[in-house]
């Protein structure tokens, strides 16, 4: 086995170990076995799944976006896809429909927002050929939705604002046991779909014109990539809130460590390391809880932002 295979195997083992560690760390003392059972299924297991799926899914969607726009600084966050999900969720939470949050309203609205944002970006990418222009539009869109959310907050009741504020911080503890199968199903669909794109992703490394020349149905693949990203970013944002930097940082780290553009390896890396990264952040937040409470978004930004800054500095 070569160096890259070994690295991925090692990563898989560390991830497995971290899962056990996470289970250990989230253990809460309980009086009876039945109570412990309830705690496991209602709280600890959904939290574990949240961390795994959010980390793996956001990294995967970041990898797709960076490939599509041929820009290592692209990601669901930068392109406004998370913002689309945030906006529709804010409309729901702050617009006076909090009751709908209990059913499929939350995930439905979030998916809808992510899809609309992705469709908007798809349309813009069709008109604006340059990647920088596209990223700028994405950032403008993010800032625009942010402003609308602020306006909505000023109208909403303190209770609604608090609920939205907590969701907006990102949390791995919001997922309920009943929602676990939904998140897992959406994630599996997105994952299988992206596995079917590996050959095209490798061709896209050369740019879309060359990919076309290599027999890739470029229009269809572009649509698939945005749809997968919307599916992942939308569902994860619905259940865990907007989580920053994971989608941007992990794929870059993957290319740097594996030194490859083979998207078969890069997808495996993003799944493993993305899951490991969020799991690690969550273990750290549990460990630090007695001293101070850190939302997951703060932790990912604390680690992710300096790394991205380092990448930008190194490139220029």
């Amino acid at each position: 086995m070569n160096r890259k295979g070994l690295l991925l195997l090692l990563l898989a083992l560390v991830l497995l170990l971290s899962c056990f560690l996470h289970i250990q760390f989230t253990e809460v003392s309980s009086t009876s076995a039945a109570q412990a059972n309830v705690l496991w299924w209602e709280f600890r297991f959904p939290r574990l799944i949240s961390a795994l799926v959010a980390g793996a899914g956001l990294s995967l969607s970041g990898l797709l976006m960076q490939n599509l726009f041929r820009n290592p600084m692209a990601g669901p966050y930068v392109l406004g896809i998370n913002s689309g999900a945030s906006l529709t969720t804010a409309l729901l939470m702050l617009g006076g429909f909090p009751l709908m949050l209990h059913n499929f309203g939350l995930v439905g609205s979030s998916l809808l927002g992510a899809f609309l944002a992705a469709a908007f970006m798809f349309f813009v990418s069709w008109r604006v050929q340059q990647t920088t222009g596209l990223l700028l539009v994405g950032l403008m869109f993010a800032s625009f939705t942010g402003s609308i959310e602020s306006v909505l907050q000023s109208w909403a009741s303190p209770e609604q604002v608090k609920q939205f504020f907590l969701w907006n911080m990102g949390s791995l503890q919001q997922l309920s046991a009943a929602q676990v199968p939904w998140l897992l199903t959406l994630f599996t669909v997105a994952l299988l779909w992206s596995l079917l794109l590996i050959r095209s992703l490798n061709a896209f490394v050369l740019g879309q014109d060359q990919a076309f020349q290599l027999g890739v149905r470029t229009q269809r693949v572009r649509f698939s990539m945005l749809a997968i990203t919307a599916l992942l970013a939308g569902s994860i944002t619905a259940y865990c809130g907007p989580i920053a930097f994971v989608g941007l940082a992990i794929p870059n780290l993957g290319r740097q460590l594996l030194r490859t553009q083979d998207h078969f390896l890069l997808i495996i890396f993003c799944l493993l390391f993305g899951a490991l990264f969020l799991l690690g952040c969550d273990i750290l937040s549990v460990y630090l809880e007695p001293y101070f409470s850190l939302p997951i978004n703060v932790l990912t930004s604390l680690i992710g932002a300096p790394y991205i800054a380092y990448l930008v500095l190194r490139r220029s």
């Binding site: 590996i198 050959r199 061709a203 050369l206 020349q213 290599l214 290319r255 553009q261």
Partner: protein, 238 residues
């Protein structure tokens, strides 16, 4: 191998009209023309990237409209080395050249042993074996051009289009490039069309010339440089 009939080519507006022209297998054609004469548009049309405005165009008996629709067929008939390759981060020369095999791979993009063999043989033919493990970002301009050629060779298509392949090469590499192309077309039913500004090089190797001027194409064989230049300048007079 490539045949035009009452073909009108252009990007939104008609730029070139070709009444009747056939390019034959076993030859390397050089497309000459001043800047803006439409060389790139013609190549892009042949690569099925830009649609025909009117008339008929067939490559290896396949109409271009069919090649534009059927992506697998297109990738197995036409290879296109467009303009300049800048290198891609983290991509080595072997990995880059192997991307030329994509039309023949499964959805997972796994390169087979035969594909790898083909890549290393092509690199050897072009005298590039020593670069195999080098990163594409670290290559010189000339080396980048040559590995792009290797990638196109590996795609193994009857028609190979090259947009100014010699522009970044020194005289030695220009020679090597042309010799490699001539050798390549001599094996099997293949045809190369390259655009160039290097009239001397094309004449030296006796390439059949296609002079593009004033929206017309003229096939020139056996003319000297002065005559070729005067044909090319025809388009620039008004």
């Amino acid at each position: 191998m490539i045949s035009f009939q009452n073909t009108v080519i252009g990007y939104q507006h008609p730029l070139i009209a070709i009444e009747n022209l056939t390019l034959h297998a076993g030859k390397v054609y050089a497309l000459l023309g001043l800047n803006g004469s439409g060389k790139s548009t013609l190549l892009k049309t042949l690569a099925a990237q830009t649609p025909l405005l009117d008339g008929a165009l067939t490559l290896n008996h396949f109409p271009i409209t069919q090649l534009a629709k059927d992506s697998n067929l297109r990738a197995q008939q036409i290879a296109f080395v467009s303009s300049r390759f800048d290198g891609i981060e983290h991509l080595t020369v072997v990995e880059y050249v192997a991307l030329g095999r994509i039309p023949y791979l499964s959805v997972f993009g796994k390169v087979t042993v035969e594909d790898q063999q083909m890549v290393s043989e092509t690199l050897k033919d072009l005298g590039l074996t020593h670069l195999a493990q080098k990163r594409t970002k670290e290559l010189s301009d000339g080396e980048k051009q040559l590995v792009s050629l290797a990638r196109a060779f590996v795609q193994d298509t009857p028609v190979l289009l090259l947009d100014e392949p010699s522009s970044f090469l020194d005289f030695l590499n220009r020679e090597n490039l042309l010799l490699a192309l001539l050798k390549w077309v001599s094996r099997g039913q293949r045809c190369v069309l390259l655009s160039s500004h290097d009239i001397d090089l094309c004449l030296e190797h006796n390439l059949p010339l296609l002079a593009l001027a004033g929206g017309q194409i003229q096939e020139l064989i056996g003319q000297d440089k002065k005559e070729v230049v005067s044909v090319l300048l025809k388009g620039a007079v008004h």
